[in-house]
Symmetry: C2
Subunit: 247 residues, 2 copies
Amino acid sequence: MRPEPLGYDSAMGTGPARQPSRQASRLPPITPAQIIDRAVELTRDHGVDGWTIRQLAAALQAWPRVIGYHVGDRDAVVHGVVEHVVAQIPVPSADTPWPEWFRRILHDARPILRRHRGTARQIVVLGPVVTSFAPALDAGIGSLLRAGFGDHALDIYRYLANIAFMLVAAEDERDDFPHARATNNQFLASYRDDDAHPGLAAAARIAGERPLNRESIERQERDFFDQSIERSIAGAEVLLREILDRR
Amino acid sequence: MRPEPLGYDSAMGTGPARQPSRQASRLPPITPAQIIDRAVELTRDHGVDGWTIRQLAAALQAWPRVIGYHVGDRDAVVHGVVEHVVAQIPVPSADTPWPEWFRRILHDARPILRRHRGTARQIVVLGPVVTSFAPALDAGIGSLLRAGFGDHALDIYRYLANIAFMLVAAEDERDDFPHARATNNQFLASYRDDDAHPGLAAAARIAGERPLNRESIERQERDFFDQSIERSIAGAEVLLREILDRR
DNA sequence: ACCTGAACACCGTTCAAGT
DNA sequence: ACCTGAACACCGTTCAAGT
């Protein structure tokens, strides 16, 4: 939750560290694109909530005010970062059958979003304001319409996309509480032989069999994501069959 | 995203406003329970991210340090708030058939969590560390085991609970961007007659038919929540049938 | 044991000049 | 048009005393 401190020399509190100022070193004017690019880099290294406007300014060798001048407030910068990240997600062609279309795009989106912690949450909050999502929305809705979802297409798109992005957002946030997983496992383990709580005892047994090293946790998270998507597609398929049967 | 300013007279920056201090007025020592109760009230009025330690202290007529002394840092206070809120969710008995068990608890949890904005997100992040969740976990897993989910019981519980709480969390966060919905609708509407983007055009048409007044938006959100749960239960049912067929 | 102040090291944003 | 400083109004947490 709390952003880790960065390495920048921002000892002065205000001001772009001790580096010479842009004007003094006759640097060219900063562009909005440069600001967003730097913000994307900082997001890659520290997550969306892991850098401050002041640190971004320092990284650009500029004063905080410059960012406000060219891009806007912090929310505007974050929005720019999200647009940049979303644009990297490959969009399957609209004639892909809908289950495969969603499997593919959501599977590909996960690592891209995970590499930029906190962007998944922003996508859920902002919604289609993220204009670089337009191609995905167009193709995805198109794919659902051809399958016969009719007026349910929009809600099913939202259902599947929301679940995927929210799951990634949850993974992102749990990264910031590395101790929480251990505490949770300990808590569950304490019920292992508790006959009065058979559900908790079973949960403890199931969770207890899973290895806890870094890479196997990563695999478990990926599996849970993939299976959740698979189940949700199955749920949507049930609805589709109902719609088609009704005709 | 940004907390709205509260009405407290915290003009002094530090210190519990102008009220007489606890010691001077011979008030009894503050208890952790009192601190959490007040924090729950503030959460009800302004959301988990809508109050500061300093404002909580002012509401208690105490200095910020007192909260750290009795409860801990801000995360500890928030954890206390979450425990208090989760304890209010009624847990259906363990012999309820699993689809009905989840329908009931998730349906009942939504308004309680919505009344305390930001707590749903905390639940997803914290996981079972929230000890007041133990009864629900015990009964829910029990219900899934009796249905025949076997070792999948834990993951299915996580799947259904995660989706519900994440959906509520997303609703909470969108409350803080009331303009985002309007912007999104405008954005979609601009594609209404765009033949080059049939998917977006269809989405615009579907969204355009929905009324935009406050109460009908609330109903749409509730419906989307209920239908998402229903679809996810259907997805879990598909898995259950596979498991049972395999035997 | 519990509370009081003040201080510390931060935030994002704004203001008024400068070049 | 763009950048520079300083200032403003906040944060959460810590420190050193007080009662």
